[in-house]
């Protein structure tokens, strides 16, 4: 993202303390906001009957954008999960592509409308396609890490899941395998407090997923997943270390699912209202804005320009995508086998 507008005063000192460049900070806000606004528009399209299914990342933007920004674009691999819109945007997905994906249009670069929305996959961006079956991508990530190690390719794999998914065997098998072989894999768990309707305390007796790392002999960290800067500062050194051969890392980002599980879910049936209100105060997008403005990093006017641009991008993308063609029925049977 490049900006052409005139510069206003920014506090260089604070930016240095963040260990980030001015551009990176601007990108953080842009991608978090773009992710949120896209999700909002998607939900609106769902309510209008134009999109059968939405599963969103609201509340997890900081966790996603901060982590993805620590990757080397086009070099490192991402084995994401369905909430990772923010990560995909950082790695190059456009607003238009996100809308094509939602609407299962012919030109959706992820899957031609074959998969449900938010099942990402783009080989040029090194984002690997995943099944809806949760946690399966973690084992694939270990395999990608194994291939990288065997080829002496200095890449890193970032793979994501929710805290609920860490109950599945694949989580444990992936961590153990990656630990034995010291694979360059970052297991990134976005702990958003719920697995559909089950609160974390019903899913495991530990408070922290990160504590599970000890059982596999790998390093772990916990980070405030509502704080994009802290996320970047935590994930970046782990990625650097893995690239140098330091082995896998388990990082738990503590965040919160601000919305229902999906457009099919009614969270009022199981979520206390007061809890939601409490977490809404920690909204990663608005708290980032408040912080950078109050610390003098960006004047509010600069952020308003980003906000205007994002609004326009999202509006345009939705309008455009709705007009795009659906896949044709005669193409339903394609790509079952790869032909020689």
């Amino acid at each position: 993202m490049t900006s052409t507008r005139t510069r206003r005063t920014r506090s260089q000192k604070t930016i240095e303390e963040y260990l980030l460049s001015e551009q990176q900070l601007e990108d953080m806000y842009y991608y978090m906001l773009l992710s949120r606004r896209l999700n909002e528009r998607m939900l609106a399209l769902n309510r209008q009957g134009r999109a059968p299914f939405v599963i969103a990342g609201a509340g997890q933007e900081a966790a996603q954008v901060g982590a993805a920004m620590a990757l080397q674009k086009g070099t490192d691999y991402l084995a994401p999960y369905y909430r990772d819109l923010g990560m995909n945007l950082v790695l190059g997905m456009t607003a238009r592509e996100a809308m094509l994906n939602l609407l299962a249009k012919r030109d959706d670069p992820n899957s031609f409308g074959r998969q449900m929305p938010s099942h990402w996959g783009n080989s040029a961006r090194r984002i690997v396609t995943q099944s809806s079956v949760v946690t399966t991508q973690l084992v694939h990530a270990a395999g990608i890490g194994l291939a990288a190690k065997m080829r002496k390719d200095p890449i890193v794999v970032l793979t994501c899941c929710g805290e609920g998914s860490t109950s599945r065997g694949d989580f444990h098998e992936a961590l153990n395998f990656a630990a034995i072989h010291k694979l360059p894999v970052i297991f990134y768990v976005q702990n958003n407090g719920y697995a559909i309707t089950s609160r974390t305390d019903k899913e495991m007796p530990l408070e922290n997923v990160a504590d599970r790392a000890r059982g596999y002999g790998i390093q772990s960290a916990m980070v405030d997943g509502m704080d994009c800067i802290a996320v970047y500062q935590t994930v970046k050194p782990a990625i650097d270390q893995a690239r140098r051969g330091g082995g896998p890392y388990l990082i738990e980002a503590k965040c919160y699912r601000l919305w229902p599980h999906s457009s099919d879910d009614d969270d009022t049936r199981y979520r206390p209202k007061a809890e939601l209100e409490e977490w809404t105060k920690k909204d990663p997008v608005t708290t980032f804005r408040d912080r950078v403005v109050s610390e003098g990093v960006f004047p509010a006017e600069d952020l308003q320009e980003i906000e205007k641009r994002v609004e326009e991008e999202v509006r345009e993308a939705a309008q455009w995508a709705l007009m795009q063609p659906d896949p044709a029925p005669e193409d339903a049977l394609g790509f079952v086998y790869k032909e020689l």
Partner: protein, 325 residues
């Protein structure tokens, strides 16, 4: 007889069996406060408490394995899996343990467990939520496989499942949950396994289906009658294991033609088994080769256009029948 939807009939069956037998308990993801992905267990946590309605972590293999253990120890667990696709994570427990322990222990240990799961396409849930793989489970000796097509059958068969001493795989088509029908409220209402249901009598062709495909077959039978003057008999198998092949054979001996309708893939599917059995027992009565109308050979796509193209339709059934005359 009260009228209710299939999801409510299933819930009534669970309630009645839990009231009748205190060893019955339920486990599954989001089945408690939420009432399950398809609202089948709604209200049961409130009525029976956490001891008997357990929300579990996301761990399909684990919860089926725990169910097997509890069943070996004398309880009657029901495990709910969100979809048949996710049951593959528990396939080892189901196939290598639940189905085989009775035999491997030389009759010492049996596994009286009910495993419920949703199947079927048409709801835009794509390749890892929508398949119809009843026939896969029917392949394994040691399992009973039940696939109801109506609210009354759902209730009678599910209640019967809790009185079986084997593992029963109980498969519910997602498109059937909202179906309405009259359901007996007699707590002793049971439907025996291995009894196919002749839904519609006919003389020219036999249409065989189960679960979701019964409804395509029935719609096709109406179209055939109205548009072509062809009289089709429709048979709902209700259970694939045990299989009521006698009812199918009797029908084919009368109509001399058989079309099997199934959402599942054709290659290696249950329709092939049924076709072979018809051939073995009624070859001399057949005026045409047995036909199979099945899902297309592709993972279920999400986009509506693509999903329609992948699923069998009643028009496909009509076409297959017309080709026999």
């Amino acid at each position: 007889m009260p009228e209710m939807r299939m999801r409510d009939a299933l819930r009534e069956a669970l309630r009645e069996e839990m009231l009748r037998d205190e060893t019955v308990f339920l486990m599954g993801e989001d089945i408690g406060a939420y009432g399950g992905s398809y609202a089948v267990t709604k209200g049961l946590l409130e009525e029976f408490g956490e001891e008997r309605v357990k929300d579990t972590p996301i761990a399909e293999s684990g919860i089926v394995g725990v169910g097997i253990g509890a069943a070996m120890a004398g309880l009657r667990p029901m495990v709910e899996l969100m979809t048949i696709n996710f049951s593959f994570l528990a396939l080892d427990q189901i196939v290598n343990s639940a189905a085989k322990l009775y035999h491997m222990s030389n009759g010492q240990i049996n596994v009286p467990m009910v495993v419920r799961m949703a199947s079927g396409g048409g709801s835009q849930l794509a390749a890892t939520h929508s398949h119809s793989l009843e026939g896969l489970y029917a392949h394994f000796p040691g399992l009973k496989v039940v696939c109801p097509s109506s609210p009354a059958d759902a209730k009678g068969l599910l209640k019967r499942a809790f009185r079986d001493d084997n593992t029963v795989i109980f498969i519910e088509h997602t498109a059937n949950y909202g179906l309405k029908g009259d359901v007996p409220d007699d707590p002793d209402f049971l439907i025996e396994f291995g009894q196919a249901n002749v839904l519609r009598e006919g003389s020219d062709v036999t249409l065989v289906g189960y679960s979701g495909s019964v409804h395509q077959a029935t719609r096709a039978a109406v179209m055939l009658q109205e548009q072509e003057g062809i009289s089709a008999e429709v048979i709902d198998l209700r259970t694939l294991r045990p299989l009521d092949i006698d009812t199918v054979i009797r029908s084919v001996q009368k109509t001399n033609r058989a079309v099997i309708v199934e959402d599942d893939w054709k290659f290696g599917g249950f329709a092939g088994e049924l076709s072979a059995q018809i051939m073995e027992r009624a070859f001399d009565w057949l005026d045409a080769p047995v036909a199979r109308v099945c899902g297309k050979d592709v993972p279920m796509p999400y986009n509506r256009n693509l999903e329609f193209a992948a699923l069998p339709s009643e028009e496909d059934v009509v076409e297959a029948v017309l080709a026999m005359f």
